[in-house]
């Protein structure tokens, strides 16, 4: 089983805050982006991989591929998981992937979502999934490592 430093839910996946703040702060050497859409998009895969810092290994996998990958032997690397779809976290937990902390970054508004806190907008179903998950691991809303976090109630 691979070692996961943090799971971050963010619509923007690998973006400024992640590259400039989270990666150096968490001292991760691998970033795993779980996204069914991106995993099959050649242009986006190329773009994300070429934009990543040189010393960081980046994988862009579909949820199914990611489960397989995470169940492989630990090679001593620390992984940051980025995803936009909250349902994937549920799937990870169902497959007994060990998660200690989930970070909610930026979840933008859309017609189904309601404002939860600052830049976190959640739909009813997303909120109920998160509540379920929160029984198993800590969920915290936090933009940047230095910010004060807010726990999901």
């Amino acid at each position: 089983m691979k070692k996961i430093a943090l799971i971050r839910v963010d619509d923007r996946l690998m973006h400024g805050q992640v590259v400039v703040s989270w990666i150096p702060y968490l001292k991760v050497d691998e970033v795993l982006i779980i996204d069914d859409e991106y995993a099959t998009d050649e242009f986006m895969t190329l773009l994300i991989k070429s934009a990543a810092p040189d010393n960081i290994k980046v994988h862009i996998l579909s949820c199914r591929q990611a489960l397989e990958y995470l169940n492989k032997d630990d090679e001593g690397t620390r992984i940051l998981i980025l995803l936009r779809n909250i349902e994937y976290i549920k799937k990870l937990l169902e497959s007994n992937v060990k998660l200690n902390k989930i970070n909610l970054g930026n979840l933008g508004s859309n017609p189904e979502r309601k404002k939860y806190y600052n830049s976190v907008y959640l739909s009813d179903s997303e909120l109920s999934i998160l509540r379920e998950i929160s029984r198993q691991c800590e969920i915290e809303i936090k933009m940047l490592p230095g910010d004060e976090g807010k726990a999901l109630e």
Binding site: D11, R12, L13, M14, H15, G16, Q17, V18, V19, V20, S21, Y25, E37, Y38, D41, F43, M44, L46, L47, I48, S50, A51, D54, N106, G108, S109, N110, K115, N118, S119, Y121, M143, L144, P145, G146, D147
Partner: protein, 488 residues
Amino acid sequence: MDIKQIILLSVLYYWASSTALSLGVGYYTMYRPVIAGCLTGLVLGEPFTGMMAGAVVNIIYIDFVSTGGSLEGDQCLTAMIAALMAVLFGLSPVEASAAAYPFGFLGILIWKYRLNINSVFVKKYEKKFAEGMNPHIGIYDGLLPQLLLFIMSAAVILVTVFVTLLLRKFIINIKYVLFLAGIFLVFSSTWNILYKLQSKKGYLIFAMSLTTALLVNPSSYIIFLIVSAIILLLSNKKMKLILNSKDYETHGKNGKIRKRDLIYSWFVWMNFSHSCYSYERLQGMAFAHSMRNVFKRLYTGEEEIAGAIHRHSEIFNTEPNMGTPIHGYIISLEESKQKNKIADENTDDIMFIKKGMMGIAAGLGDSYTQVVLTPLFILMSVMLCFDNKFIMALVPVMILASVILIISYTGFMKGYYEGRNSLIERVNIVKNSRIKTYFPYIFSGILGVSLGKLLIIMFSGTSENLTIYITVGIISMVYTIVKIKRRN
């Protein structure tokens, strides 16, 4: 102080912190303490006294990076108040910076408040749109949020100036404490940024340049020329590619979009990218705003135009200068969508591309424009100030502003004419940038010289002996290390 000066200061604070209506470079010029201090000084009749105070505030805020609008304190307001105290109370730059420091946290409240309150304009716009009123995006993205921001900024200036003048006697009485606090702030900011750079060679270069500055005090003018030469040498051909704009034909690919439409769209984007910045949409309203003239060219029906603009008002966020290939590329996609009569329901892929590209450009952009280019040029300006070369100190800031403009303009055009690969090209250029690689060394060098020059000014201004500086230096170093260790 008279009423005219207070009004001018309100306008200055609004204009500098708004980052709107300044072609996107206000954030790199007026917002920076060294320039904000200079302009405040200008209003009060002593531009160089103000600029000097601003320069010290700038050292305190030298590690400032705004990613996604998460800021620590408002450096612009701090600089303005520091300049004000330096001019009106006759405080030294270091004392003024320490006295103004607490006010920075008041400024930051506006920024946080703004992110929430701007949602009001988003909702108003949505409501009008739902009612079929074809709302003008410029009103909700530009006019109303800016008007409100002006009122808030003016209120903040009024309160801070009032409090500052009220505390005049007290501030002058605790001058010595402020002096110590000032050196402490300058030192801890220096240790902090050095630690952040994580470069052993950087420490060495810093120590060497600091010693050299203290012993021989070399002319900052010559150092500025040397550093500029190094930067020019390091800008490899690829970097030049980013700056070179090909002379594209005046007509677009399909004829409908003209080059001046692109220029105007870019112009709107640069002026309003953070105008209605909110937690809900971030720069979404601004993106829609910048597409307004494009859709007016593509469609004729009022409703069609309003609908297309509305489609693009959903959440968007990127680094406003590095990310412009997205705008150009999206315009070209919208142009062919209109030409091939693709229905609105089938625009999911345009939105998917837009969202995918924005995050990448943000990561890439912040780690370059804000983390490398800005500190480099701003610190050179600060160094020149510490040598009393105030007019010369404006030059690095102007170079920075020009580079930012060129990066954003060429990106916009390339995105349109060359498509999405222009973003990948940009990614590779920035990643292989040698300026970025050598940044820690160049920066540590200028930092050492700047600190040395500031210390020389302080030595000559007071009768204090060295022990006090060394003591504060050591205390601040211990404090910074403990703070960093605790954070990790």
